[in-house]
Subunit: 131 residues, 6 copies
């Protein structure tokens, strides 16, 4: 196997992998699977496990679906994961994120990274009022 794993298409996938692909498409109400899942498919238990986590964590809860995607995009932007920004950014746009909202999100990601370093480097103790 080459060092870089290639996407496994539905037509060449095992029954175990197809079952996950089918659930992704049914849950997302689409007939398309993005390549993250197709590459993860080289390791079927991990494919199943990660999808199960995503489905549970990003499913209905007390945070609305758009806010959940915005949080995912923000963490991914902070970590510099281009693929994740692209995929969760697309999901966020599908759920209503405007370009103006995306700009504000990026501004917060940048500023939080700045103040996170300042606070940590200065070793500021947490105020008693926050405890």
């Amino acid at each position: 196997m080459p060092a870089k794993r290639q996407p496994i298409e539905y037509s060449e996938a095992s029954a175990q992998v197809r079952a996950v692909y089918d659930d992704i498409m049914a849950t997302r109400q689409t007939d398309w699977i993005n390549d993250f899942w197709k590459v993860l498919a080289h390791d079927p238990p991990t494919l199943r496990r990660i999808w199960s986590n995503i489905k549970e964590v990003m499913g209905p809860g007390s945070l609305d679906p758009l806010t959940k995607e915005l949080l995912y995009v923000a963490v991914s932007a902070s970590n510099g994961c281009q693929y994740c920004i692209a995929s969760h950014g697309a999901a966020a746009r599908n759920k209503g994120m405007s370009e103006q909202q995306y700009s504000e999100l990026l501004a917060i990601v940048g500023l939080a990274n700045e103040t996170n370093r300042l606070v940590t480097a200065l070793g500021v103790d947490v105020d008693a009022r926050f405890l």
Copy 2:
């Protein structure tokens, strides 16, 4: 000066620093300043500059104030900044964040950090559909 800078209280602050403290309290409608600003006050231009950035970025926009705080908390949690989690977590609770919402936010932060690494390590190319 010791290696660790101590908070500068209002009573001992210069006029330049007091002006920023006053604006923070007026903007936040409170009579209290948390220690991050009091430690930053050893460098008045940075105190003024960072406050100005926070005021602008976290001020009214197309994302509502609670969502903005949630994004700030999520990035801070991803970066492991305890002070920032505590201070922006308090701000988020003041704006309505429930404990259930905070739990869901942490779950997203954790999972995004997991999938960010998997995607990057696997070197998955961004799907043409996302470009």
Copy 3:
């Protein structure tokens, strides 16, 4: 010099650089040098120093050679260094890493990144029993 340093081939290298290249090839029992070393060669003392560190740290010890490479790959995957995943991944495969083992390694890297964030964000104190 352009911003991006190009590999320095053996034929154009100084005697000082060739001595390191020779030691790399002799130690690894190969006649090939990967580009990391050829780019480091623009700074001969750093080339010699880093190779000396790698040779010592990755040499015989109480951890077997495969385990050492797996650890190197895991840290590189966690840090998102594609080159290092590719080069140390190749070394690990040469020492016997199977694709199934690589899948399990990636799963651990992803999960550790998730729980590392959860533990740190929640500020869990280390249990007395661990001290």
Copy 4:
């Protein structure tokens, strides 16, 4: 609820949480639960989900149990998570990790972080032979 969540002891836990605690103790053949789980217990679905992931990923596979723990410790050390180093370090010692092996592990974590930065900063392209 205070900003910092306190451990939930077995005696005060819900049936849902106790079921996870019971499974952790049975799987690990111990009568003790470390505080990470007791703090996660404020969010029972996350407690159950993370434990399920750990149980699957760290369970029997093609990598032996000690190697799996060493990888977890290495990623945690690279990320600077003291709690995770302590808890997975204890697990690794229980599975046979010697102090000499731990020293070698830390040396690899340090060196990988050094070369990861050098490779990325120099922008070295992946050698064709690695692809």
Copy 5:
């Protein structure tokens, strides 16, 4: 709008954006703007804010201009931001950074990343003498 924002050239920019471009060129005594600013221009308030921060932080102070650029390059190299290494590396070279100095800077970045992890993983307490 596509997921990836394209540079906005001067000829197609709004008056608000042109004012920032003009100030960048005047401050830097050049007739050229690099693409970071042209991509930020999709969000004019952020363009203005970030430029204002850079102008203030990188302007005259008690650290000389070359040292300031070296620090910017070092942090960017540590974070693996290729664009920032290229842009601030060019600025540093314009201010006199030699290739030998750049090599020494990279060596420090690499080594600091190694010892930072060792210190943190070992949990070394700060010596009383440093406090």
Copy 6:
């Protein structure tokens, strides 16, 4: 051995460890060793190796000694290593760093972390002029 390694004092150190301690004190012209080295001493080859690296990288070169310490402090601040900020901050102060210079250094560290994230998240391609 407990999970956290304690400093090994000179009086209890082996001849091999004392030789490194002696070289550190002679090189630094002091009769004091900070705890990082005393904790590393549990692994004598790593103690010797890391000291050898520090001595070489931080020794005389084309960057002056103060600039080298400033770069070390900046990377450590960006990585949030409190011990390293304290120890290399003390070294920088000994070499002449003023409190004003330290404030400017921190401002650059913070701002670089902000713009590094913005550039990476926006996926800005490196300008041809920088290549």
